[in-house]
Every structure is written in C-alpha cells, then in structure tokens.
Amino acid sequence: MTTSNIETPLIGGPQPLASNNEDSPLNGVKVGVVTFPGSLDDRDAVRAVRLAGGSAVHLWHGDHSLQDVDAVIIPGGFSYGDYLRAGAISRFAPLMEQITAAASGGADALPVLGICNGFQVLTEAHLLPGSMIKNNHLHFICRDQRLRVENNGTFWTSEYADGEELVIPLKNQDGQFVADNRTLDELEGEGRVVFRYVDGNPNGSRRDIAGISNAAGNVVGLMPHPEHAVEAGFGPDSSARGEVEVRGGTDGLGIFTSVLKKLVG
C-alpha cells in the first residue's frame, strides 16, 4: 500500500518563515514521516517539517522503500495499539528493516528522530539503548514540559545553543526511561543524553533523561513532542524564551530546522 502525498492544509495559512519559500535550499530536503496503524502525530510531524521549510513525505510502515528521503521521523501515537509492549510489534514492520539498516550506516547514516512512541520503536529496534516503562506515578500525563538541550551536536539539535531550554508538550503513560547503570554511565560519558527534564522529573526517568542519541548522533529519540510546538496559535502557552501569547510557544521548531540545515550543510 502506498499513501498519497496529500498536502496537509496549514490551518490559518503558513507562517511567514524566512525559509518557507520554494527558492530555499531547505525545500529540497525530503523528510519522511512513518505512519503505523495507530500512529497519531504523523500529520503534526509532517506539518512541522513543512513549517520548518522542508519537504515532507508520507511513508507507510508496510512499504519496502524509503522513497529516497534524506531523513526519517517516527511519530508518536499507539502503534499497533501498544500491544505486547509499546513499539514491540512496529519494530518488525517492513519499513523498519530499511530504516534500521540505513540508520546504522556509519558517516552517511540516515538521520532518524523518534518522538514518544517513535522513541519506543527505536529502543525496541535496538537503534537506541534502554527502554520505557509505565510512569512511576501510574497516570497518563499531559502538560507543557521544560527541557534542557544537553547536546547540540546531533542532527536534530544543532539549531539550539548548548544548554538552551525549551518548553514543549509531554503526553504519555509509558514515559519512564530506564536502562542499567552501565548504559546510563556510557550515555552520560559519551554526551549522548540529548535532552534532560528541568523543573521536576515528570515520570521517574533515570537521571531525568528525556532524550538520547546513538553514538553517531544521527539517531535521536525523545519522549516530549516538539511537533506540537512549531506554530504560533497552536503551541503551548509558555516558552523558555520568555512570555508568549496564548498557545504561542514554538520552541520545538528548532528540532526540524536543525536536521534540514544539517543536511543542506
């Protein structure tokens, strides 16, 4: 099955972004967004890529071709209904085999971002270490969450200053990042903790970890949702950059501009 590339309408019209025009080199960067049965945030991720100035390509989990995309986003949601374990069945989707192979390919490896359920898929696929279990307080949580960028050397964080903070939505039930101490020490030592929760740990994640990367820095996973904080009027009510209008937070946009600018080089 092939999904069509239906243009996702931008409610209220596109924002006047400097990069959002056809002459921009960013427009030539193709970012694929994978849809599994049960994905929820694929459309939002597609919008985020377009708002950042790139071209988004819908990818279907059951396909065997990556359609020559330059990067891939595995979005949030409940792929396969979270049956067995979150991400456990999605990991064996035909397209995931292609993604795993392409993401493991050394210097030219495919940049991959996993958000929430997508992060869980990446850990199940062994592209990232550790795993997520139920939040320590057992509740589904949905709130605007403050994070700190701990490594701006990855494909997905280069537009942020090192140590910069951002506020983006967090919404999940299985958000508690766990790994054994040796793995955690390794992640810390190699600078692979990419995002850390600030102002309180929302789910019991080890060492306040909100996002990590692989050793090469092309694969990043995080639990909070940058794609929900990319467009004024539709984002969180707060920003780490100061006061914003109601729903004016766009702190997540830098994740998407990072990969586009990195790929244009």
């Binding site: 270490p129 795993s131 279990i133 939040n135 320590n136 057992l138 054994d180 019991g204």
Partner: protein, 86 residues
C-alpha cells in the same frame, strides 16, 4: 493440540508500577496478607502437531526476541504444558 507456555516477568531491579498499583488495591478489598505484587505476562503458543526440539527452540527464540524486552524483562519459563503432553 499441545501448547508451549512462555512466562515473562519484569526484571527484579526494575520497579514494576503495575504490580505496585495492584498491591495498593489488595487491602482495599480486605486482603492484607501480601507484602508486594509483581505483574508478568504469560503466553501460550499452540503447536500444530508434535512439539519437536526445533519447535521448542523456536519458542525460546520468540521469547527472547519478540515476547520479551531483555532491557526490562526476563523470560522465566519456556515449557510444554503438562496436561497437553499426555
């Protein structure tokens, strides 16, 4: 048809939030004799025919690659159900 049972439990060092919630609910129905609860999963793999060594090996492979995540879970049992073996 014979069945192979696979039991999967959260690793001892991993906090089991679901087990904790169940432990908290037990006293509410008057059952106070339990110190803690851990919740695992049981899978039953039905075999069409005889359980050969090869099939059992496939079940072990399934247990460690798909049915459990070794980061957070242990496979505590892979065996043919006794009542089916008769």
């Amino acid at each position: 048809m014979p069945r192979i049972v696979v039991d999967v439990m959260p690793k001892p060092e991993i906090l089991d939030p679901q087990g904790k919630a169940i432990a908290g609910a037990l006293p509410r129905i008057g059952l106070t004799g339990f110190a803690s609860v851990r919740q695992g999963k049981r899978f039953e793999l039905t075999v069409d025919g005889v359980v050969t060594d090869e099939v059992l090996e496939q079940a072990r492979h399934a247990a460690t690659t798909l049915l459990s995540n070794p980061v957070i879970e242990d496979v505590t049992r892979v065996e043919v159900l006794e009542e089916d073996a008769q």
